[in-house]
């Protein structure tokens, strides 16, 4: 007897919130900011009838530190924000990374810099992948391009966070967070692993656990950094994720993530109708970046172009990945403006002619 599937029509932010409850979150600490305030609203509405806790903090600074405390005590916790609020969290993120605390963090990217606009943008790519906070650390970054992925990546995010004792960032944007699509909540077994390192109360059978990012002797600090680097090397080896669309015979490759990938998918279709052999490589993890597949695709294509809602950020990582084998261009709009597939195709054709 098959169980009826849980299929709903939901907006991205709410699907993400629902997924967190189903993933067995212990708590969510957040602060309102457009375009993701629905997360806190959904959770404060739902949580009294379900499990877990949702608390509105007094600021994003407070929220990220509540995550730090709860994660350090072994809880499954998360927070979400958008660009200006995400910036406020960077100190906390650096502390969380250094103390090696598992948690899920979400940035629903809006236009910037500064207070910016509430419209979608991909201008926080550098901040997400090169480090928004201080110090030598990396975030595992998942980039959804649909409401379904905003839900699925919550389960994946918590799992990866626990597996590697590391913060995981879901980098969404103001369109995907707001759009409504069909989403399936698959039945799944929620696995939570033991956390013997957590500060849960010193019992007689062990030494005291100290959650800290302070290592004042340089020799010890270096060891901590080496531990982090070893962990990141494991993540790079095991956790690269991407999607390839019509890359088997493509002559030119678009590289795009998130909303830009949705648009580019249509661009591929329109181009093929015109006889242009275009393919799309969609990174799903922005870090670890799918360097190897791009390096190999550079042997097959004549050029690549990134499509991004920014002034050109991921394009730098693509150029690094192909290591000079092919020319890599960029097409982008900023300030929350979303280009149509026709506009992108037009500019792709201009780029191809310029080579």
């Amino acid at each position: 007897m098959e169980q009826k599937e849980d299929i709903r029509l939901m907006k991205g932010n709410e699907a993400m919130a629902e997924a967190a409850i189903q993933a067995g979150m212990d708590a969510y600490f957040g602060y309102p900011i457009t375009p993701q305030s629905e997360v806190l609203e959904y959770l404060t509405r739902e949580v009294p009838h379900r499990t877990g806790l949702a608390l509105q903090a007094e600021s994003e600074v407070a929220a990220i530190n509540m995550v730090y405390g709860a994660a350090g005590a072994g809880a499954r916790v998360w927070t979400s924000s958008s660009s200006p609020g995400w910036s406020l969290m960077q100190e906390g993120v650096s502390y969380i990374a250094s103390a090696q605390l598992p948690c899920l963090l979400v940035n629903v990217n809006r236009g910037g810099p500064g207070l910016g606009t509430i419209q979608p943008s991909q201008g926080d790519y550098f901040q997400a992948t090169k480090g928004g906070g201080h110090g030598d650390y990396r975030l595992l970054v998942l980039a959804p391009n649909s409401v379904q992925e905003m839900a699925d990546f919550v389960f994946l995010g918590f799992e990866l966070a626990d597996k590697y004792r590391t913060p995981v960032l879901m980098l969404s944007d103001g369109a995907i967070g707001q759009m409504m699509e069909r989403v399936i909540f698959h039945k799944r077994e929620i696995k939570k692993i033991p956390k013997p390192w957590a500060a849960t109360g010193k019992t007689k059978d062990r030494e005291r656990n100290i959650i800290t990012s302070l290592f004042i002797q340089p020799e010890k600090m270096e060891q901590v950094n080496l531990t982090l680097m070893k962990k990141y090397a494991e993540i790079e080896k095991n956790e690269v994720r991407f999607e390839e669309i019509m890359t088997q015979d493509s002559e030119y490759l678009i590289v795009a993530y998130g909303l830009s990938a949705r648009i580019s998918h249509k661009v591929v279709q329109l181009a093929r109708e015109k006889g242009l052999k275009i393919g799309l490589l969609r990174p799903i993890t922005l870090w670890p970046f799918p360097k190897d597949v791009l390096f190999n695709l550079a042997d097959k294509v004549k050029a690549m172009m990134t499509v991004e809602l920014n002034a050109g950020q991921m394009v730098e990582d693509v150029r690094l990945a192909v290591n000079g084998k092919v020319k890599v261009g960029h097409y982008g709009r900023m300030g929350g403006i979303i280009p149509s597939p026709e506009e992108v195709l037009e500019n792709l054709e201009i780029f191809i002619q310029s080579i």
């Binding site: 212990d26 708590a27 600490f29 806790l53 608390l55 903090a57 007094e58 600021s59 600074v61 407070a62 929220a63 530190n65 509540m66 995550v67 730090y68 405390g69 709860a70 994660a71 350090g72 005590a73 809880a75 916790v77 100190e91 906390g92 502390y95 103390a99 500060a199 849960t200 109360g201 010193k202 019992t203 007689k204 005291r208 656990n209 100290i210 959650i211 800290t212 990012s213 302070l214």
Partner: protein
């Protein structure tokens, strides 16, 4: 005393002489040598905290949040599970812990910069929410760890490295009486100001910290324990002079005593 025999813990036998054990170091303090300056109140405050944890028997259920400041290494001295918070954020971290693990005893231990400068928002909102934790606030009117800058609680006229001619309240703001500031918040259940520079003061502080743990079981709000303390090094005084400064100057401005106490009805289930 060599070659002595302990017949019972209270009675130490040395030859024909017996001695009653009246004091021993609490088992909750580690043997790590304290880094605090001679005469610093932190040493005494840590010891009181550790003694209370031992006497209440809650070592396995207590979680501390350490600040940024001289006491950043509190976790080296008190043998419980600790978390080190970012500067000013201890009360936010403690909120996260207590909300997820409400049966644990949770406390923060913070200095005047941590709690009343960079952490002001987190302090006020934690108390405003009535988080069932204890906040231990060590107020010594100066920034110790960073070598003596002015603090929000530095007294008017106090010379520090960033108020070299003395604190001018018209330019630099006034010293803040934090206990009085937060006491009116309904979420503040128990607010008291104590000290550790005399034996009598130590006994009262110990009672206050004991309450700060016990009251958590009532779930009725935050216990806020301000401890007026010293910093001989950055006050540029000897330890004894610094104790006089506490007695003659600090306590004049920061009077000791209970600012807000729970009613008898509130304590019925204790």
């Amino acid at each position: 005393m060599e070659n002595f025999e302990i017949i019972n813990p209270q009675c130490i036998v040395d030859g024909e002489d017996t001695y009653e054990l009246v004091y021993e170091k609490t088992t909750i303090m580690t043997d790590t040598r304290l880094h605090y300056c001679p005469g610093c109140g932190h040493s005494t405050a840590h010891k009181i905290l550790a003694e209370v944890i031992q006497e209440l028997g809650i070592q396995e259920d207590v979680l501390g949040v350490a600040p940024v400041g001289c006491s950043v290494f509190a976790y080296d001295y008190v043998n419980i599970d600790w978390q080190e918070a970012a500067h000013g954020r201890a009360t936010a971290a403690a909120t996260g812990i207590k909300r997820c693990f409400p049966d644990k005893y949770v406390f923060t231990y913070q200095g005047d910069g941590d709690l009343a400068a960079i952490g002001t928002a987190e302090t006020i909102h934690c108390i405003n929410r009535g988080e069932n934790i204890m906040i231990i606030f060590i107020n010594n009117g100066v920034y110790g760890m960073t070598s003596g800058q002015m603090a929000p609680t530095s007294l008017e006229g106090m010379k520090t490295t960033t108020s070299p001619y003395g604190r001018d309240v018209h330019k630099m703001g006034y010293p803040i009486k934090v206990s009085e500031l937060i006491a009116p918040l309904p979420g503040a259940f128990y607010v008291t100001r104590q000290a550790v520079h005399t034996a009598a003061a130590v006994r009262k502080t110990k009672k206050a910290i004991m309450n700060g743990f016990k009251y958590q079981k009532l779930g009725k709000g935050t216990s806020f324990i301000e401890i007026v303390s010293n910093c001989p090094s950055n006050w540029k005084m000897t330890p004894l002079q610094s104790n006089d400064y506490i007695e003659n100057e600090m306590i004049k401005f920061y009077p000791l005593g209970d600012i807000k106490v729970p009613s008898k009805e509130d304590l019925v289930n204790l």
